[in-house]
Amino acid sequence: MLDVRLYLAQRITALLMVPFVLVHLAVIVWAVQGGLTAAEILSRTQGSPFWMLFYGGFVVAASVHGAIGLRVIAHEWLGLRGRVLGGLTLGLGLVLLGLGMRAVIAVVVA
């Protein structure tokens, strides 16, 4: 249930996420050495405009991408369609975006 616009949104966000994912993975691999504490995470990220943009962008992209992806699966596997499917896509997108932004604010701003 994708038209060309949803398709493009999904593919473009996928492309955007490539650098995000790679950096994120690298950071994790590097960071987890010797265990992980909240203080460690926060000290690295808090107050940094770079990480703000980085994770903010990541969250937006992942929300759009994930919502569209789940939409496809919901249509093909659960048979949802029409308004319900549209609503679900939007709902999932907003939930992901909301939670994601809250996390970004928690980690970067607060």
Partner: protein, 113 residues
């Protein structure tokens, strides 16, 4: 009728991509929620991270990283297929994507342990 008929490399790659995407999409809210704890209750976050040091949980995390890698490389394969007008042997691309994912995930695992 037997369903084995569908199990060819590209079909498997598709199923893997879908399952990993689904798992990621389901995990993501949890991940966000945990990080969001830093806002309300940093102690709980630490508690969670301590809990996360448990080997079983580590294994689960390894799974997630693996999924992300699988999905990302699989996705790159698809993007290449769709946007580069080539006629390369797609099976090979699928296999390479899978190998790449394993590589990344193994590195992660070795680091953690």
């Amino acid at each position: 009728m037997k369903t084995l008929a569908r199990s060819h490399p590209l079909w498997l790659a598709h199923v893997l991509h879908r399952l990993s995407g689904l798992a990621l999409a389901l995990f993501l809210p949890v991940h966000f929620w945990v990080l969001g704890l830093a806002l309300t209750d940093p102690a709980m976050l630490d508690g969670f991270l301590a809990f996360a040091a448990h080997p079983l949980v580590k294994l689960a995390e390894f799974g997630l990283v693996f999924l992300l890698a699988v999905h990302a490389f699989g996705g790159l394969r698809l993007l290449a297929l769709e946007f580069l007008p080539w006629r390369a042997p797609h099976k090979t691309a699928a296999a390479l994507a899978l190998a790449g994912s394993f590589g990344v995930a193994m590195t992660f695992l070795l680091q953690v342990i």
